[in-house]
């Protein structure tokens, strides 16, 4: 009896030791040397794998940034400059201050201002609707309202407004990863500079049709009249194909153009209510 126990303990024990030895040798022989900083960088990243940086997930981003050894050309939209400076400290680099961005919907053709002329039945995705027809109101550039962008958002930063039929971006949650920009088949969503105190001025329309035609379908369409272009002293507004566009890098948020727009297609967001006119005009003149 004792012998059986002894032999089995000995044989299994020696077998185990032998295997452990083999495993140890193999592990030593074929070990992969990985930069420990990759793990450290990955720890600092948000881990949403949104792809906003242009790489296949956070791990890939960490690998690439460690390999490059520089922050140039790397950006983590959801993490912003905070995360990037942490990453920089791991790599022993200095992070530059980065302008934070936010997604903006460039269409305000709600059901109220652009009343539906047709009814749509079928697969409820924008992709399909876009391939099928121009849209409920007839505007071939406007929002289709099926919510592909909302589905694409990984950060719960979008929802559809039941009333208007348009998507709404929740600014606090938006990390400007650009997933909705890619999801929209009509390129209605744009990433714009967040601006001081989240203040922004933009043309909320991408309709390139002639003024009269665009106006027929939607009351708040940009008609390409060019009044904002004339009004802007900073050459921030360009007019191309019957459509005005405000360059957010040049715009000084002087708030002159929204007043000029005859269709109120230019939106100003997060500004305090307008004060009496004269005071503001002096301010812009100084600027």
């Amino acid at each position: 009896m004792n012998e059986i126990v002894l032999y089995s303990v000995l044989s299994i024990g020696s077998l185990g030791t032998l295997m452990a030895l083999v495993l140890y040798i193999v592990a030593q022989r074929f070990k992969v040397i990985e930069d420990p900083r990759i793990d450290q960088v990955e720890d600092k990243l948000p881990g949403a794998n949104c792809g906003g940086c242009g790489y296949a997930g956070c791990r890939n981003f960490a690998e690439e940034i460690v390999k490059a050894g520089t922050l140039e050309g790397f950006n983590c939209p959801p993490g912003g400059s905070e995360v990037l400076s942490e990453v920089a400290s791991v790599l022993g680099l200095e992070a530059e201050e980065q302008e934070s961005m936010v997604a903006v919907v460039l269409c305000s053709g709600s059901r109220q201002v652009a009343p539906p002329k047709t009814r749509f039945e079928g697969l409820n995705t924008c992709e399909f609707a876009h391939s099928l027809y121009a849209g409920l109101s007839g505007c071939p550039y406007g929002c289709l309202g099926e919510g592909d962008c909302v589905v694409s958002c990984n950060f719960d930063a979008m929802c559809m407004d039941e009333n208007t039929g348009l998507p709404v971006i929740i600014e606090e949650k938006c990390v400007a990863c650009g997933a909705c920009v890619k999801a929209c088949p009509r390129n209605i969503i744009e990433l714009r500079k967040k601006g001081k105190k989240s203040r922004r001025i933009f043309v909320s329309c991408i309709n390139r049709e002639k003024g009269g035609v665009a106006r027929k379908n939607c009351k708040v369409a940009c008609i390409g009249c060019g009044r904002c272009v004339k009004e802007c002293k900073f050459e921030a507004i360009t007019l191309e194909n019957n459509l005005a566009y405000i360059d957010f890098n040049k715009c000084t948020l002087c708030r002159k153009c929204p007043q000029e727009c005859p269709t109120s297609a230019i939106h100003e967001i997060n500004f305090p209510p307008r004060k009496p006119k004269e005071k503001k005009e002096n301010k812009t003149a100084e600027a």
Binding site: L123, L132, Y133, G138
Partner: protein, 441 residues
Amino acid sequence: MKTFKTGGVHPPEKKFSENQPIEVLPLPETVSIPLSQHLGAPAVPVINKGDKVKTGQLIAKGESFISANIHSSVTGTVTKIDDVIDASGYRKKAVIIKVEEDQWDESIDTSDTLKKDCDLTSEDIVKKVNQMGIVGMGGAAFPSHVKLSVPKGKKAEYLLINGAECEPYLTSDHRLMLEKGEELMVGITIKMKALGVNKSVIGIEKNKPDAIEYLCELAKEYEGITVEPLKVKYPQGGEKQLIKALVNREVPSGKLPIEVGCIVHNVGTTFAVYEAVQKNKPLIERVVTVTGINIEKPSNLLARIGTPVSAIIEAAGGIPSNTGKVVSGGPMMGKALSNFEAPVTKGTSGILVFPKEASQRVTQLNCIRCAKCVNTCPMTLEPYLLALLSDKKRYEMCENNMIMDCIECGSCHYVCPSGRPLLDNIRVGKAKVGQVIRERK
């Protein structure tokens, strides 16, 4: 009775207008003739604003190989060449002509007499078909001269004529076979000459016994032409299904019918070829079926290209009050119109008016894995899988599962007990995969 083997459905036929002779629709006040009515590159206009044009005059030229000429369908003044809203609501370039009178171009023979003999060579016939802007009139509007020029190294054996008209409601081909039978026969002989084939089969579904009988009678006089009655089954009018039904050959995946020695033409196209070659008449008018459950006077109208759809519905008694949907084409493959002023094009085979209760889709439920769609698919695909893959954006897997073989007949959607939008999903996937394939080249 011959038919294709795999899949297919048999929706209620509802051919209300089959006994209505073809009527000529009066000229509208203005016509807008789209520059892209066919598959391929849009035609380039050769006239200017303010020009006077005659009926049948060339107004736009198809410059690449896969394109088609476009002719004026009326006599009048060109008011503008501009974007007009088409059936989908998008803007497409079109020539708008104000109708003044109806004076035909001198070169066109407008008499009704049958001209049997054709002494043109096969190259000349193809050239003529190209000049006259003939396209496939079954719906896809593929330029006919491309189909009639057999590529090098291939040989055509059969010319198959599609008289199946498998879509419910539509009767334009049926009427054409009854009223223009002799012209069709001459058209077939012309095309046989162009292709260098000596066998031609006309496939007609057996719900058109009068047409089968009449064409059988006529075919006796013509060598090589036979008429084959077919079982009533949708989508028998599909090119690949018709080949399988008539000559029992299978077109390989991704290949054209010429691979198995067949060329398929529609009856409408055959009649247009007859008129083009024998009468010098370009494709400027076509038979359009206008029908529907509540339509006062279902009819078959000979309408000029560019006539607004509203004028056609008006001629059939106007739009009923409880209309929910107006479809251009057949009920299975047609597309709902978002605009009644959209013009009739070379590919418009019918205008269907559905009441509200018949036009709504059923509530969409979950897939119960019954595999009805798999059994029904005439291309032996798995529609539920393709729809799912496309929905999840797995386009590579879509391609591996042969999404490009889908003929978009809609049978899967028709049989689905859960009312799932299978074809809608597949269409999105097909468009994406097509894009990827084009970029790869």
